[in-house]
């Protein structure tokens, strides 16, 4: 039925926005620092549980606790950077990418199992008073929570864009990406830029996680799935373009939904991974990339 297909497409767009948000965080961190943080999904998971915790313990609405979740993620990001990744700054790119990937892998195991001990392996979800409310447009159901998440994701990315374009810190980040040696000659502290980029990445992951916890569900083992999603979308969208990555997320979301509609549930993940491999091998700069992948 056409309505059913349309419903799928809309669902795909709504979840795709979160894919995009998750991917932009990873893309930003990787683009600046060349740290391949494969624990990005676990950071997303942490954001989700932070939001969940605030809701169940303090009874606070997840959209209202976004600022505190952000603060939490900034602290976590700074801590992890200082503890684990700050030594990696001076390495050559190949070694840096590989070693940070390995470290992040170890980190993902730790975070995953810590979360398992704290929250058990059950799926969790935040159900607010308005969780069941949905708009209806031409027979397609638009859950209010997911619509709000789409808006939040979009606003976050706009804010990020403005930050990078208009603020000194943002411009310093852009300059470092382009030419780090020239950036130091202008007085930019590369270590600080790396720290800021890592924190931004963690922050965006956390916000995405918070939105996932209210619109979908979270579980300690969700990290790998979301890391892969972020990687797929990062590669699909291409480095250097926030909007490109966001669109990439939506493309993945819709592709998954449509595949699920025609070929069944399991293949929705498979199709994303296939796209990933094809892009990696045949068009590594992605659809909208402005820099080398």
């Amino acid at each position: 039925m056409l309505i059913s297909l349309a419903q799928n497409v809309v669902s795909g767009i709504l979840v795709g926005a979160l894919y995009g948000l998750a991917a932009v965080g990873l893309s930003l961190t990787f683009g600046v620092t060349k740290f391949l943080n494969v624990a990005h999904g676990e950071l997303l998971m942490l954001g989700g549980y932070a939001s969940f915790w605030a809701f169940t313990t303090l009874g606070m609405d997840p959209f209202l606790t976004l600022p505190s979740t952000i603060v939490f993620m900034v602290l976590i990001g700074a801590l992890l950077y200082k503890l684990l990744f700050s030594r990696m700054v001076k390495l050559t790119e190949d070694v840096k990418v590989k070693n940070t990937m390995l470290i992040a892998f170890g980190l993902s195991l730790i975070l995953q199992n810590v979360a398992l001990r704290l929250w058990t392996a059950d799926d969790r979800s935040i159900t607010t008073s308005y969780s069941g409310v949905a708009l209806s447009m031409l027979g397609v159901r638009l859950p209010v929570v997911r619509l709000a998440s789409l808006v939040v994701a979009f606003v976050c990315l706009m804010a990020l864009h403005l930050f990078l374009q208009r603020t000194y810190t943002g411009k310093a980040i852009r300059a470092t990406v382009e030419d780090w040696a020239a950036a130091t000659l202008v007085g930019i502290d590369i270590h600080k830029v790396y720290l800021e980029s890592f924190i931004l990445g963690a922050l965006l992951a956390g916000v995405a996680g918070a939105l996932v916890s209210v619109g979908y569900s979270i579980v300690p083992t969700m990290g790998l799935e979301w890391t892969l999603i972020a990687l797929v979308v990062m590669v699909l969208g291409g480095l250097g373009s926030i909007m490109g990555t966001f669109v990439g997320g939506i493309i993945l979301g819709v592709t998954q939904s449509v595949t699920s509609y025609f070929a069944g549930g399991t293949y929705r993940e498979v199709v994303g991974l296939l796209i990933f491999l094809l892009v990696l091998v045949f068009r590594p700069q992605g659809l909208f990339g402005t820099k080398q992948g």
Binding site: K171, R174, A175, E178, A181, A182, L185, V186
Partner: protein, 233 residues
């Protein structure tokens, strides 16, 4: 103002500088000349903190800056215009200049510095909203120098500002360099173009194969083989 004593520098296992020593007094315009591959850029890298020396000392206005971080060295008043300028091509001329005033002290006087830079390089003002990637070679060099000036340096290091530029442009740029020096900025000019360098300044060091083989005025320097070759060849 700047004292370099006995600096050795390595790229991995490859020694690039052997016991390099030189000094620059405040207000001077000193040149560091030598053939390709002599180690001139390496010397600037060491001064700017991008390459830590294996031995030796660097003192700037009394402070030991041998192992200082590059961004701190800029804060202390040494700015380098690297070879080729290396402007941020993805950003506009204005953004490049603003980034030059990144450090808090420089940022305070940003408006004033901008006026100063535009006075020296009026062409940059014309193109201030243009992306740096669209500028010509000469304009990029001007932008790079302007960007370095935005940090209000006491000592300006210039790495081959004439490289790849047409002779007329070289003359223009060098005229601007003279003016900058006249305004009170000490300058260390690294150049392969010996004739142009010796026209600008009275004092130069000669660097050959990573060693300072002498210093002096234009005539004195003609006694050096490499200098003679550069003039005649």
């Amino acid at each position: 103002m700047l004292e370099i004593e006995g600096v050795d520098a390595f790229y991995g296992d490859l020694q690039a500088l052997w016991g390099v020593s030189l000094r620059i007094e405040e207000g001077e315009l000193v040149a560091l000349i030598g053939p390709n591959g002599a180690g001139k850029t390496t010397t600037l890298q060491v001064i700017s903190g991008l390459l830590p020396p294996a031995s030796g000392r660097i003192r700037f206005r009394g402070h030991d800056v041998t192992r200082e971080r590059p961004d701190r060295i800029v804060a202390m008043g040494i700015s380098q215009v690297p070879e080729g300028g290396r402007v941020f091509t993805g950003m506009t001329v204005l953004e490049n200049l603003e980034l030059g005033a990144f450090l808090p002290e420089a940022r305070r006087d940003k408006a004033e510095s901008l006026k100063r830079v535009f006075r020296i390089f009026p062409r940059l003002e014309e193109r201030k909203a243009q992306r740096a990637g669209t500028l010509s070679g000469g304009e990029r060099q001007m932008l790079a120098i302007g960007r370095a000036l935005m940090s209000k340096p006491k000592l300006l290091l210039l790495d081959e500002p004439s490289f790849g530029l047409a002779p007329l442009l070289v003359e223009q740029i060098f005229a601007m360099i003279t003016e900058i020096n006249a305004q009170g900025v000490t300058i260390l000019l690294v150049e392969q173009n010996v004739r142009a360098a010796l026209e600008l300044t009275q004092r130069a060091y000669v660097l050959e194969n990573g060693r300072i083989v002498g210093q002096g005025s234009g005539n004195e320097l003609l006694s050096f083989e490499s200098v003679r070759r550069a003039y005649l060849g």
